[in-house]
């Protein structure tokens, strides 16, 4: 198509095809007649029938074409950075966090805080941990810096709640102990690359 045709804005002369339709009613008698015709034709029920048929197929024949959103969610990319999750060790069920404080230090919006103490087993225990989600910008640095893959960004993107505090405590983010088996290893931001073994020199061990 040459450029001239585009520039030809004389609409009336173009070769449009007109779709045939009935002549417009002219008199009020004709107008009344058309209204009555359309009313009594039953076309509405054709549309309703389509809906009914699809509903029947979806409910009873298992041919559903949409996701049941609040109950069902589409899978989301592991790189998506939503509300944090605290993972547990799969073997012992103990939480992975060692309380090193790196997430607290790296956080650019300064929204992570933790209190730690020396516990009875001579280990560092995280006695208190919070993330202030009013300030968190979900940058993902905390997950990236975590040496234990203990804090990760989960897929939980519905961040509306009556209280921001609803998300922010350690226990809220921690994998529930009965859901330990469903805990998935995090493949996204900050995880070890699949070929990590090839990239490091191993420290010899005398065992």
């Amino acid at each position: 198509m040459s450029l001239e045709k585009f520039k030809d804005r004389n609409i009336g002369n173009q070769n449009y095809t007109l779709i045939g339709h009935e002549a417009f009613p002219q008199t009020s008698g004709e107008k009344f007649e058309r209204v009555m015709k359309r009313m009594l034709k039953g076309e509405l029920f054709v549309g309703l029938w389509v809906t009914l048929r699809t509903m029947f197929q979806a409910l009873f024949k298992g041919e559903m074409h949409t996701t049941k959103y609040p109950f069902e969610k589409l899978p989301i990319s592991p790189r998506y950075r939503a509300i944090h999750e605290m993972l547990r060790l799969l073997e012992s069920g103990h939480y992975r966090c060692i309380g090193c404080g790196l997430c607290e230090q790296i956080c650019i919006s300064d929204c992570i805080r933790m209190d730690t103490r020396y516990d009875e087993n001579q280990r560092k225990e995280v006695s208190e941990y919070t993330i202030n989600f009013g300030r968190c910008i979900f940058c993902g640095y905390c997950a990236e810096v975590c040496p234990e893959l203990a804090i990760v960004h989960g897929p939980r993107y519905e961040t509306s709640s009556e209280q921001r505090a609803s998300f922010s405590l350690f226990e809220d983010m921690l994998t529930p102990i009965d859901a330990l088996k469903q805990q998935k290893e995090y493949p996204g931001f900050g995880a070890i690359s699949p070929n990590a073994d090839e990239n490091i020199k191993k420290t010899p061990l005398a065992y």
Binding site: G101, P147, A206
Partner: protein, 821 residues
């Protein structure tokens, strides 16, 4: 160490130094970096890490123990040395991973730093690890053996600086090194690994607990996170803490410290002090300084009602009673109050010290004593009179110990209360456990032993000579005598004459010179012989005197004797001020003798109390919430900063209400310049730190002014003041208690009670009532101090509301009656 100036070249840089200095110290002073893990600036080289290997004039030496020579050329790094160092670092990293998530060193780790500095990027050695248990050595010390790299810095500092020698290396029980290692590894790395694999740090008394003064200096010097104070373990990462340079508020040493603060917890955002750290290469703290930091006074806000009452009290008051745990600025404010309101200033600890200083100045012609503790540390013969070294000033004790350990020095310790620790400082330490009141004799003995006799006047010379006498004594001597015996050989039946040497004791009469002074002071017989050995080859002498002399019936005569000794014996003289800022208060305030009328207690007992402890009527900030300066034992005006906020009233507000205040308390700092010796410097211009060469850049040094010297004669010893019978109470604090502030600190748990030697405790039982002659009495728990000896009981004065100073008055020793309860 001679003071001959020499020049050496380190990595091409010309460095000036003195003969006998170690290469490492010269390099550090000239900003040249030589890696070294185990060396501590003021202590003896340990040679544990071997990483400070350098090449001096083509020979490999260790920079920490090789002394510089004139014209020496030192190469810090070459390829071979670097290989050796890398191997050493690799060995240190065996079984000590560097991605350590939870360590209290948190990035301030020298192991990590040196591993990175030397670019160690792989590990070539391995050995099975041994199980090493975490231990709590005492109330404050926590040892994580798993992190320990056995650099022995803790052992070294405990021996050479602190003097407790409470820890040593012990067996680790690790596996032997791989056989091929010896041939394949660099030599020094192998030797270091061999030692490392065999040892670990343990308490030296053979138990699981250290018996020490809990100073925590070992935790300060630890390059890794192996030694940490128990209170701090896993509490906070170092990088979160804000460091506030300050001066320790507890004793007269005025050590430089850093308060490290952070918010209290997630739910409580108020700042809290988490720990105290120090420049451990240049200053050593005591337990009070390191662990007594949480004595702040938290107030909600300005209590206007109390303030109005306080103003009213100041307007009616006739005396203000205070102690010397205050800043120079506060002292100056109190002095201004005196000038404005005409009140009396009462200060028990500074008054006696001020009088002693005044009388000393008259006799010596100097406004202040001549030396400081730094000079004492450089001397090689140190004498202590009238100070309970362990308790009065920990730094004086460290100096005494340091002289023995580092300068191959000798020491004399005169004190009525026996001390088992001081004698362990060195072989050439003589302890005189004399009777109470014999302090003058002790000073006369020093005169006799050290004075240049030509400079003494005839009277004193005669007096000293009168103590000497010759005595004939029968001495038993062992000699070898030759005895001939006839022996029959059984095999051959021959009889032989055999000459055998048999030891025999004979009695011999000899004439000995006896010094009556030594006898009277309870010195042992061998002293005179030992003393010649002690004194030989010694060049510089120093004298530390303490509180016993200021609180002495004859303190005036003692001060003259001290002045005389300083003059005729060429001694460095240091006086231990009784409390934190007694020297400052003594110089700034005109103090009065007796309190009268309505008394305002400023951190003290009184009708109206202002104080930084909860029970006061008007709260004032504690010393970690105030800016200001202290005058310390080293005659320095040193600044301290506020570590924590304070929202209430302070003394300056009262002065402002009376129309004589300044905008801020530190605006008084330049005003100190009007007092003799002080300078007009703004607070913000005062530095507070050390240079790499260890030079103290803190505040400014007081100027020692010359005064009119009066001809004053010393008086002979008067025997009537000696207390040698009955029970004696001694006003003396336990090791880590100094004042109300230490009392308030949660980690200092020495109780208020009667401190006694183990033997005395058996006699006394669990609780006693000590009755003084004015019918005042204390009911006290008996607490054993296993480093004390003898029958004297020590009663602490750190709790101001117990008014122990008031009970003792102008004495430090009192005759008392003791009742068992």
């Amino acid at each position: 160490m001679s003071n001959k100036e020499i020049t050496v070249k380190i990595d091409g840089k010309e460095c000036k130094s003195v003969e006998g200095e170690y290469i490492l110290n010269v390099a550090r002073a000239n900003d040249i970096f030589i890696p070294a893990i185990c060396y501590l600036t003021r202590c003896s080289p340990t040679l544990a890490c071997r990483i400070c290997l350098v090449e001096a004039d083509g020979k490999r030496v260790y920079a920490c123990n090789a002394k510089v020579k004139d014209g020496m050329e030192v190469t810090v790094t070459n390829e071979e040395i670097l290989q050796e160092r890398r191997a050493i670092m690799e060995v240190y990293d065996v079984n000590h991973p560097l991605q350590c998530g939870v360590c209290d060193q948190s990035g301030e780790c020298e192991l990590q730093n040196y591993t990175l500095e030397l670019a160690v990027d792989s590990q070539s050695y391995a050995i099975p690890d041994t199980i090493r248990q975490n231990k709590n050595w005492s109330d404050v010390l926590h040892y994580d053996a798993g992190l320990c790299i056995v650099c022995e810095r803790c052992v070294t500092v405990c021996k050479d600086m602190i003097g407790d020698s409470a820890i040593k290396t012990g067996p680790r029980g690790g596996e032997a090194l791989p056989k091929e290692a010896k041939d394949t590894m660099p030599k020094d790395a192998y030797a270091m690994w061999n030692k490392l694999q065999k040892s670990i740090i343990v308490p030296s008394n053979g138990t699981d607990f250290t018996n020490c003064s809990d100073c925590g200096e070992c935790t300060a010097v630890c390059p890794v996170g192996a030694l940490v104070s128990r209170d701090f373990v896993y509490k906070s990462n170092a990088w979160e803490l804000k460091r506030i340079p300050a001066t320790c508020a507890h004793c007269s040493s005025g050590c430089q410290i850093y308060y490290e603060t952070k918010h209290t917890s997630i739910s409580d955002p108020t700042e809290k002090i988490y720990r105290v750290t120090n420049e451990w290469n240049y200053v050593s703290l005591c337990g009070a300084g390191r662990f007594g930091y949480d004595f702040e006074n938290r107030v909600q806000g300005k209590d206007e009602e109390a303030f109005a009452l306080a103003l009213k009290a100041f307007n009616t008051a006739q005396s203000i009673k205070f102690n010397s745990a205050i800043t120079n600025e506060e002292a100056l404010m109190l002095q201004r109050l005196k000038e404005k309101l005409g009140v009396k200033l009462i200060n028990h600890d500074a008054k006696a010290f001020k009088d002693f200083l005044a009388s000393y100045s008259k006799a010596s012609g100097k406004g202040l004593y001549g030396g400081d503790l730094k000079e004492v540390m450089k001397s090689d013969f140190v004498i202590s009179v009238g100070a309970s070294l362990r308790n009065d000033n920990p730094n004086a004790r460290y100096a005494f110990n340091h002289v023995q350990k580092m300068n191959k020095g000798a020491g004399l310790y005169f004190h009525p209360v026996g001390d088992t620790l001081v004698s362990t400082f060195g072989k050439s330490v003589e302890i005189f456990t004399h009777q109470v009141g014999q302090e003058e004799l002790a000073l006369y003995l020093i005169l006799d032993l050290f004075a240049n006799k030509e400079r003494l006047d005839d009277e004193t010379k005669e007096y000293l000579a009168s103590f000497h006498r010759h005595e004939k004594r029968i001495v038993k001597e062992k000699i070898m005598e030759e005895v001939s015996q006839s022996v029959t050989d059984k095999a051959t039946g021959e009889t032989k004459e055999v000459i055998k040497k048999v030891p025999k004791t004979i009695e011999k009469e000899i004439e000995v010179q006896i010094n009556g002074l030594v006898e009277m002071l309870g010195g042992n017989d061998a002293f005179y012989e030992n003393f010649e050995k002690m004194k030989s080859k010694k060049e510089s002498f120093s004298l530390i005197i303490g509180e016993d002399l200021y609180y002495h019936p004859h303190s005036r005569n003692l001060s003259r004797l001290v002045a005389l000794i300083e003059e005729v014996c060429d001694m460095t003289l240091v006086m231990i001020p009784p409390r934190t800022n007694s020297l400052g208060v003594a110089m700034i305030c005109d103090l009065d003798e007796e309190e009268s009328g309505y008394v305002i207690g400023y951190n003290e007992h009184g009708h109206f109390r202002l104080g930084s402890r909860g029970f006061s009527k008007l709260d004032i900030p504690a010393l970690n919430q105030q800016e200001g300066t202290f005058t310390n034992i080293n005659k320095r005006v040193v600044p301290t900063n506020a570590a924590l906020d304070y929202h209430g009233y302070e003394l300056n507000d009262i002065l402002n209400a009376l129309g004589i205040g300044m905008r801020q308390a530190i605006d008084f700092t330049p005003q100190l310049g009007r007092i003799e010796g002080f300078k007009s410097e703004n607070f913000d211009d005062l530095p507070n730190g050390y240079t790499n060469a260890g030079e103290e850049l803190r505040g400014y040094a007081l100027e020692v002014v010359e005064t009119n010297k009066e001809e004053i004669k010393v008086v002979k010893f008067d025997e009537s003041i000696v207390i040698n019978e009955g029970e004696i109470a001694y006003r003396c604090n336990p090791q880590r208690q100094f004042n109300d502030f230490t009392d308030r600190s949660s980690q200092i748990n020495e109780e208020f009670g009667a401190y006694v030697s183990p033997n005395k405790a058996k006699e006394l039982g669990e609780e006693i009532e000590v009755i003084f002659d004015q019918e005042q009495s204390f009911k006290l728990k008996v607490i054993v101090d296993d480093r004390m000896q003898g029958d004297i009981i020590a009663i602490p004065d750190y709790k101001s509301y117990q008014n122990v100073y008031g009970v003792f008055g102008r004495d430090r020793y009192k005759k008392v009656t003791i009742k068992k309860v």
